[in-house]
Amino acid sequence: MKRKLSALALALGLVLSLAACGSGGDAPAGGSSTDPQQNTQTGGEAAAFTFVPADGKEVAVNADMADVLAQLGAEQSYFEAESCAFEGLDKTYTYPGFVITTRPDGENDYVNSIRLTDDTVSTQEGVYIGSSEAEVITAYGESTSDTEGLLTYTAGDVILSFLLEDGVVTSIEYFPA
């Protein structure tokens, strides 16, 4: 009997150890690490592309939003959206000329995107809403994007994208690579 019980225990152990190999990471639900956005990289090497608003303060993708807020001061308007089902707020901070969105990770919020919304601000390389396609290519070179009307450039862990309409930049956005 003892031998049979051992066999059963062995079989169960085998199944569970196989199970342990079957998947990695935490359980996707029922625990605390369920937010799909939490898998996004938050650290990594320094971003080559950063955004410098008119007043000379620097905002980087993946930066801690608390530090950004300390630099930039109060936003013009603020919006927060809870993820369906999971905890954590995606936040949108609107400043004159640009919009920052964040993603939650643990207790902190990190910059998930910086989007330039008018021509009062520009990228560090001098491209702004209204620049021509040629000016973008002069500043950044040939794009790797194969989507029409979209030029993208990756540096470090940041992608800088330019949307164009009739050869003119209509949107500029920094987001994680």
Partner: protein
């Protein structure tokens, strides 16, 4: 001797299977006190009568329409087969599965998921798929939904995925080992909290507004499936203010509905007509309606269904619907009282802090 050996072997196999089944039940997240959205899909199987209208889609259906109002004010029997970030292929297979159990008069599909042309995240897949009964539809839905890191086997044997919860198990996992409490009212997930919609951002410009081919493929399949079963497919866009619904997306849906002779209702265009007030009728700043908004929208939509889908009958005073829905309404009213009391207490606490 040989018989005894066979008997012993079978017995041990049964015991092993039983042990694994129990472990599976123990480790599977219960979605009772946290993330109730995960319990929505499975609740459908407890329904005891058919429905004339079945809603299919993401949070924009299970948070925005009140089946209780549809019943009380129009005698419309309905159920919402909704789940968080339900992707269109998941909706299709849920639709197909639903038609195994019943043949409603109308299927209402919310079109927001047309924006997702590829699997998004395992976490949402689990909420949408773990609750489905094992069936060809579930297998097909899993196959279509899996992200790169996922395996079909882990959906067939969830223990393979959830065994790492061993140090997170709580009393709830034991309490709900063999049963679940009902978290929804006919698929509607009630929320009475009020958080006004303010500063809702405009949608950011996109490089490509065209919905993916795969989304159209599944929409085509929905049309064919409903036609084959004599069910009218109605497309809706719920009145959620965020995520942003682009004009370019709207044009595609209008064109599709016209080309396929479908009725399409963009509820964003009837916000005033339905009496929705986003300073009082949303619990999360405009993403989802709260109970008061969902009741207003159901009131408007019930009138629309009555006028535009005459095959949907008034079932009041008909057996077995009258007694079934009387019981459902009582549970709904009780839940409303409990949630309102909890929300009032939370607000009181906030003001005294």
């Amino acid at each position: 001797m040989k018989k005894k050996l066979i008997f012993t072997g079978v017995l041990w196999c049964v015991l092993l299977a039983l042990a694994l089944w129990l472990l599976n039940a123990l480790f599977l997240p219960k979605y009772m006190s946290e993330i109730p959205e995960g319990a929505l899909i499975a609740e459908y199987y407890d329904e005891t009568a058919d429905h004339d209208v079945v809603f299919i889609g993401d949070c924009e259906v299970y948070e925005n329409f009140s089946p209780d109002v549809l019943w009380r004010e129009y005698g419309i029997t309905s159920y919402i087969r909704g789940s968080a970030q339900q992707l269109i292929w998941q909706s299709y297979y849920l639709m197909e599965e639903t038609l195994k159990y019943e043949t409603p008069k109308v299927m209402v599909f919310n079109v927001l998921s047309m924006q997702y042309g590829e699997p998004q995240s395992e976490a949402y897949n689990r909420l949408n798929l773990d609750g489905m009964r094992l069936s060809p539809q579930k297998l097909a839905a899993v196959q279509a939904s899996m992200t790169e890191e996922e395996s079909m086997l882990s959906y067939l044997f969830p223990l393979l995925r959830y065994h790492t919860r061993w140090d997170e198990l709580t009393q709830e996992d034991v309490e709900y080992l063999f049963h679940r409490d009902q978290v929804s009212d006919s698929g509607y997930l009630m929320n009475v909290e009020v958080r006004p919609a303010e500063n809702v951002p405009e949608g950011k410009p996109l490089a490509n507004y065209q919905f993916a081919d795969i989304c159209y493929d599944y929409l085509d399949k929905m049309v064919e499936l409903c036609q084959a079963h004599g069910v009218e497919l109605v497309l809706v866009k719920a009145p959620s203010l965020y995520p942003y619904w682009y004009e370019e997306w709207e044009a595609q849906m209008e064109d599709y509905a016209a080309a396929h002779d479908l009725q399409y209702v963009n509820c964003l265009e009837v916000i005033d007509e339905a009496g929705l007030d986003f300073s009082t009728d949303t619990y999360d700043h405009g993403l989802h309606l709260n109970l008061y908004g969902a009741e207003k929208l159901a009131r408007w939509f019930g009138a629309w269904l009555t006028e535009h889908c005459p095959q949907v009958a008034d079932r009041r005073r008909q057996a077995p619907y009258e007694s079934i829905w009387a019981e459902k309404s009582a549970i709904y009213a009780q839940r409303k009282i409990q949630l309102e009391a909890a929300w009032a207490a939370e607000q009181k606490e906030d003001t005294t802090e």
